[in-house]
Symmetry: C2
DNA sequence: CGACGATTTGAATAGGATCAATGGGAGTGG
DNA sequence: CCACTCCCATTGATCCTATTCAAATCGTCG
């Protein structure tokens, strides 16, 4: 692996506190792979052979049952996915595919588990990462159970707004079809929801969105830090 | 704490592999508390001072937003709850209340975190417990996103049936109101869903349910091991 | 015995899904 | 460069599921 990549990876929260030599050893078995857009990286039901870390690009986690399919969440740099399956030596519960060209760091499961046992700092980092993912899942579940479709959309827009600098402009990172599935609705319904939000100052132009009345949108959305905050 | 209780607790997966002396130390700070039914043990937004382990009874995890409330999951012996909040020193994302008289083991957060750092076996157990809870949450989320209300009910009944011995009889562990919220529907809708399932051999008499045609129910439910299995 | 909550049933409504059709870009190949 | 195709997004119409509101019944607990 190129050293430029290695130093980037070294700085990830997951690896930042661990022992130098342990990091070296673990990384010798790891590799960084590039994937084209819309490439299926893992498939639900497969055994977890690698921990995947999104270094560049964007990955969609989705699941199927019967004939239906739903986007569960998206993973941006720098976050891992399916850590729980690796640690339990179990099968993946979700599939993953790239939304754009992406670089994924792949670390063999046995190296993760082995290092976990010998490096205390790494063990702590693993637990933090796992807890963060867990809590994110709970938040998404709460979002779906406690809100209507329009409220979910409004809150998601406010979330994106905050992450992207709170300057009244949002750029959607993924297509509306994916966004719809992520929010638990159909593309048609998302389109109508955007129309409803016009009266709250939401102007849509392709993947560029302008918020002209954030306060009004907040009144509608009633954001809740126990659902929408990435911090707490 | 009474020794009878201690030995029961010692056998929990979470503690079974850890060092004797570490276990003793940790338990000196812990205590076992009894709660009456419908008692709110923790409230979402509070800081996580204790890890809670359900030793006896049943606990409901629920959440609120706006005026709405939803049951997120139920915790049976012997399982912990809100482990992630403890490990991250964060606030609870869910509230917890007893559904029946219950005994809860409470271990101060700092003892959990402290022991995590010095006992490797305990660290491993923590990770397994955390992963298991995480994966359960994902499964519930998939259930809600990928299935209709009737399918969710049918699969839940099959799940209870399996746990309770597969002899054609089910005893509901919690009221129908809670079950409805757990399944993401209203009590009225649950009642109607049970009526629909009559033609698939589901006979309801209060909290006692008989399944007279499990195969027909399975055809409807299309159970999926990546959603319904507690193992994988 | 009375009160309260849980459950069920009925009727009306709302919200979301489905089906169908159209317009618009992005990418492909001639 | 242009025509063609395909997929995405939008819109309209309709259907269906689930929620809401209302009321009756049933048990349980005090």
């Amino acid at each position: 692996m190129r050293s430029i990549d290695l130093s980037t990876i070294r700085e990830l929260e997951l690896f930042s506190n661990m022992d130098d030599s342990k990091f070296e050893t673990m990384m010798q078995a790891a590799f960084l792979q590039s994937f084209p857009a819309r490439f299926e990286i893992i498939s639900e039901g497969d055994t977890a052979d690698f921990l995947h870390v999104v270094v560049e690009g964007c990955v969609e986690l989705y699941a199927k049952s019967n004939g239906r399919e739903a986007t569960m969440s998206t993973v941006q740099p720098v976050r891992s996915f399916i850590l729980a399956a690796v640690l339990m030596d179990a099968v993946y519960l979700m599939s993953a595919r790239t939304l754009q060209r992406s670089k994924i760091l792949m670390i063999p499961s046995e190296n993760i588990c082995g290092t976990f046992e010998v490096d205390e700092a790494f063990a702590k980092s693993i637990v933090i990462e796992l807890s963060t993912c867990y809590r994110s899942a709970i938040k998404e579940y709460k979002d779906l159970k406690l809100r209507t479709a329009i409220e979910r959309l409004a809150n998601r827009l406010l979330q994106y707004h905050q992450v992207q600098g709170e300057n009244g402009k949002i750029e959607l990172l993924h297509g509306k079809k994916t966004l719809a599935s992520l929010l638990g609705m159909t593309p048609e319904n998302l389109s109508r929801a955007f129309n409803t939000l016009k009266q709250y100052g939401v102007e849509v132009d392709g993947s560029a969105i302008k918020l002209t009345d954030v306060n009004a949108l907040k009144v509608l959305a009633k954001p809740n830090r126990l659902i929408d905050d990435n911090q707490s």
